[in-house]
Amino acid sequence: MARLAPVRDVAPTVQRLRLQYAKRGRLRFSSHRDFQRALERALRRAEIPMAFSAGFSPHPKVSYANSAPTGVASEAEYVEIGVTERCDPAAVRAALDEALPPGLDIVEVVEANSPDFVQRLEASIWQIELPGVGVAEVEIAAQKLLAQEVVTVERLTKNGVRAFDARGPVVSLLVEPGPGCAILKAVVRHATPSVRPDDVLNALRQVAGLVPPAPPRVTRLAQGPLDPVGSTVGDPFSPDRAPLAAAKT
């Protein structure tokens, strides 16, 4: 006997909100799935009037953009949610941040006022701390990498080992001294397959034999449109802020 999905009044989405969140400290070891579960619970605890999909098992309307790998911290992860009542973005930020465990922190919430948000996430800035490695050594390795056109690296994926170019998407590499480490700041364009900090490090090992004695600490500092000069990325929320600014003036 087939049962039909119960007919419910599915409240329409009246507003979409874009969230920037950070994954800090020990919670950088949470996976994307871990974050999804934590966020959905936090949305309930914060009593955000979420819009739900219809059907047997309704899901809250949440879209996730490209997420940082497990073990990598981030200051700039993005999520979009749909709500059934208009909400004040600042209030949502505060309530949701309160409902999430410390270390998963909501940085900013804006109302979605523009299309193609995910397309604006063109590139990331990764900060890679290399403990026990000198600045000069990293600089030489970075120059060697930038001098190449293609550096093929391999990564183990669900479908076996995959080989791809890790050099092409690297826009710039900047090396700074840090406490007991060298800090590499890499601007990397989002490509398919995506080139992650691990792949950049792999490439540096290949071209210059750079092998840090301890696991590097990696943080994504920003995501957004690629700056025309190529050394940084812009604010992906700026088109969402623009109409508000226009309304005020």
Partner: protein, 662 residues
């Protein structure tokens, strides 16, 4: 202990651990940071507890027992509690190389720094994980090798009702409910520390043992007969009682824990909030250790349940609530509980579940109520025995007629799949008793097809091997050897598959009989089995509850070496029937059950005589209520509709704290 040692105690090892985490699978399970977790300042507490559920984090973190004790202890100003779980072999190897000790997930403090190390054993298969944790914590494996700098290692949980096999490794064991027991132990430990640790480690253990409610194996001597049976168990000190009693928490409504349920970031086996609606069970299923050792029945009131559900949902953000107990449909007010909660959360995304395997129409009504606006996928019933005769032996009072009527009701109400639980290897069982499961499953499908007019219904038969447990009427029974178990299950599988008209609609799930033999050895073993556990662990036994890590051959070879020269072997512990006069290894541990009653019930089983649930019928003198001067606590409270009660925020811990017996 020097001053600098003390100063270093309780310091986080996270910086060292952090370097290893990028190299291991699912690192999130080791970092803590759960919602509602508590982290206290080390020096603010006088008594430091570390609590372990000796399995992987994904299994241990949702455990209610540990969550309750963690919260109860942390409510005290003078104590703190942190948690630790079993470490997977990938990280264990890295930690040994890098000399990182077993740590807590809360403060990442070394387990060896705590005063008290409590382990909750739901199953004996966690014993080897305890040894891994002790070894990683740099705590001597053998209790007799420990000194004043090492934690007191305390076992609790159902397996602690026979802690003899692990008596070499633990300092103490607690039988029964832990809430008041941990407060008592905390008081005695605090007083002992404040008094300058009189008598050292032994002094504290003696204080614990003298309460009559904490078992310290070192204070008991076991003597054996030439044939291997136990001759007697005697206390070695005059202050220590001959028998140790279990703890029973009487008023569940005063203890609405967890008030702050932990919400892990890592995915766990139970992605839901749990509310314990009652403790104990008096159905009297003779195979069921939980039902025997947790008597009497103590119900939480309908308002107490509603308050915990509401509070828990607010604090966690979970969207599923499980109403837990040994047989949830047996709560005296369950119909009102289900209706009220279903009303309250109707239209929301909150779903309610009621783990119950009762074979009757009432159970189906409850399931219908709780799935008002959800999917009706599967319902589970547990006849446990395949034949009418078998069900009389085990005292599971379900007739075939009951079962068919119940599944017909379920299929008619829109449930598509029925799951049936059985056991294989029960006392007096023959091949024929198990083969009758095939006929029963066919009759279920036949009834379902007739009720729905559809062939789109399924039945899954799930069979577990029976392991006789201490403190049950079957504690004297011979366990079935694994070869016969496997042969019997193979015959059943063939019988189900042979019938083409029904075979495809019936699924069958079972495991081989080998792990059950190891569980049987550990369940009914005595102190001599400790050597087997140690040898198996040294040979690499870890995570024995996980089929990919469990090795029967490793256990058997360890047993052969460890029991070499003894008159006893694995068969002696498992497939041998005991006589009435034999001293059982757990006879000096008092679960409240009268051993005369257990023996009579065992004889009744052999005579195929069933007895009723004493909640609704006169007492059968199992001994629990008399001895504890208590009685079964069931409703009704008279409340049938719910206002919105609040979980009382005052703490029973404070009242308890000052009541340490001298």
């Amino acid at each position: 202990m020097t001053v600098s040692d003390i100063a270093r105690r309780g310091e986080s090892v996270f910086d060292q651990l952090e370097l290893l985490l990028p190299l291991v699978n699912k690192p999130i399970q080791y970092v803590g940071g759960e919602l509602n977790a508590t982290l206290k300042v080390w020096d603010d507490a006088q008594v430091h507890w570390v609590l372990m559920y000796p399995d992987a984090y994904e299994v241990g973190a949702p455990n209610q027992g540990v969550q309750i004790l963690y919260e109860v202890i942390n409510e005290r100003a003078d104590a703190l509690a942190e948690r630790t779980y079993a470490i997977w072999p990938d990280l264990e190897a890295l930690m040994r190389d890098a000399k990182v000790p077993q740590f807590t997930v809360d403060g990442h403090r070394p387990v060896g720094d705590f005063d008290l190390f409590g382990l909750s054993f739901s199953t004996e298969l966690g014993y080897t994980n305890m040894l891994s944790a002790l070894s990683l914590a740099n705590i001597p494996l053998l209790a007799r090798d420990r000194d004043d700098t090492h934690p007191i290692v305390i076992a609790g949980g159902h397996a602690a009702f026979n802690p003899e096999p692990i008596s070499d490794f633990i300092d103490a064991a607690v039988l029964g409910d832990g809430e008041e027991a941990v407060l008592l132990i905390t008081d005695l430990t605090r007083d002992w520390k404040q008094a300058g640790r009189p008598g050292g480690r032994t002094g504290l253990l003696l204080k614990l043992a003298m309460t009559g409610m904490i078992y310290v194996p070192a204070f008991y001597e076991v003597e054996y007969l030439p044939d291997g049976r136990i001759q007697r168990v005697t206390p070695t000190r005059p202050e220590v009682p001959w028998r140790v009693r279990k703890h029973t928490l009487m008023d569940l409504d005063s203890w609405p824990y967890p008030k702050q349920p932990l919400v892990p970031l890592a995915e766990t086996v139970h992605e839901r909030m749990s509310v314990e609606i009652f403790r104990g069970c008096t159905r009297g299923c003779r195979f069921c250790q939980a039902g025997m050792i947790t008597r009497p029945v103590r119900e939480r009131s309908i308002t107490g349940i509603a308050a915990m559900v509401e509070n828990g949902l607010k604090k966690t953000g979970y969207e599923e609530v499980g109403l837990l107990s040994l047989s949830s449909a047996d709560h005296s007010e369950i119909a009102d509980v289900a209706r009220n909660l279903a009303d309250r959360y109707e239209g929301s995304q909150i779903s309610l579940s009621l783990p119950s395997t009762r074979v009757d129409a009432f159970n189906v009504d409850l399931a219908n109520e709780l799935s008002r606006n959800g999917r009706r996928s599967g319902l589970t019933f547990a006849p446990e025995g395949g034949s009418e005769r078998m069900r009389k032996v085990i005292n599971k009072q379900v007739t075939e007629e009951d079962l068919i009527r119940t599944v017909t009701t379920a299929y008619s109400a829109g449930w598509r799949q029925v799951k049936l639980y059985f056991m294989c290897g029960l006392p007096t069982e023959t091949d024929d008793d198990v083969l009758q499961i095939a006929q029963l499953a066919r009759d279920v499908i036949k009834a379902g097809r007739a009720a729905t007019g559809s062939r789109d219904i399924r039945c899954t038969v799930s069979i577990g091997g029976f392991v006789p447990k201490p403190h049950t009427p079957f504690q004297w029974a011979a366990q079935l050897d694994h070869e016969t178990t496997d042969a019997r299950l193979a015959k059943l599988r063939d019988a189900i598959r042979a019938d083409r008209n029904y075979g495809k609609a019936i699924g069958i799930r079972y495991h081989d009989g080998k792990p059950g033999i190891v569980e049987g050895l550990l369940s009914r073993g005595d102190r001599r089995v400790g050597a087997v556990i140690l040898a198996a662990w040294q040979d690499g036994a870890r995570f024995d509850g996980w089929s990919e890590h469990f090795s029967y051959d490793r256990w058997m070879s360890a047993a052969e070496r460890a029991l070499d020269g003894q008159v006893v072997d694995v068969n002696w512990y498992t497939i041998r029937e005991r006589t009435k006069t034999e001293v059982l290894p757990w006879d000096h541990l008092d679960s409240g059950l009268d051993s005369e009653w257990l023996w009579e019930d065992w004889q009744a089983a052999l005579d195929e005589v069933a007895i009723d649930d004493c909640r609704w019928t006169p007492c059968f003198d199992c001994g629990v209520c008399d001895q504890m001067d208590t009685q079964i606590q069931v409703g009704p409270t008279g409340v049938t509709d719910l206002p919105m009660p609040k979980v009382p925020m005052h703490s029973p811990v404070a009242e308890q704290t000052s009541q340490a017996p001298s």
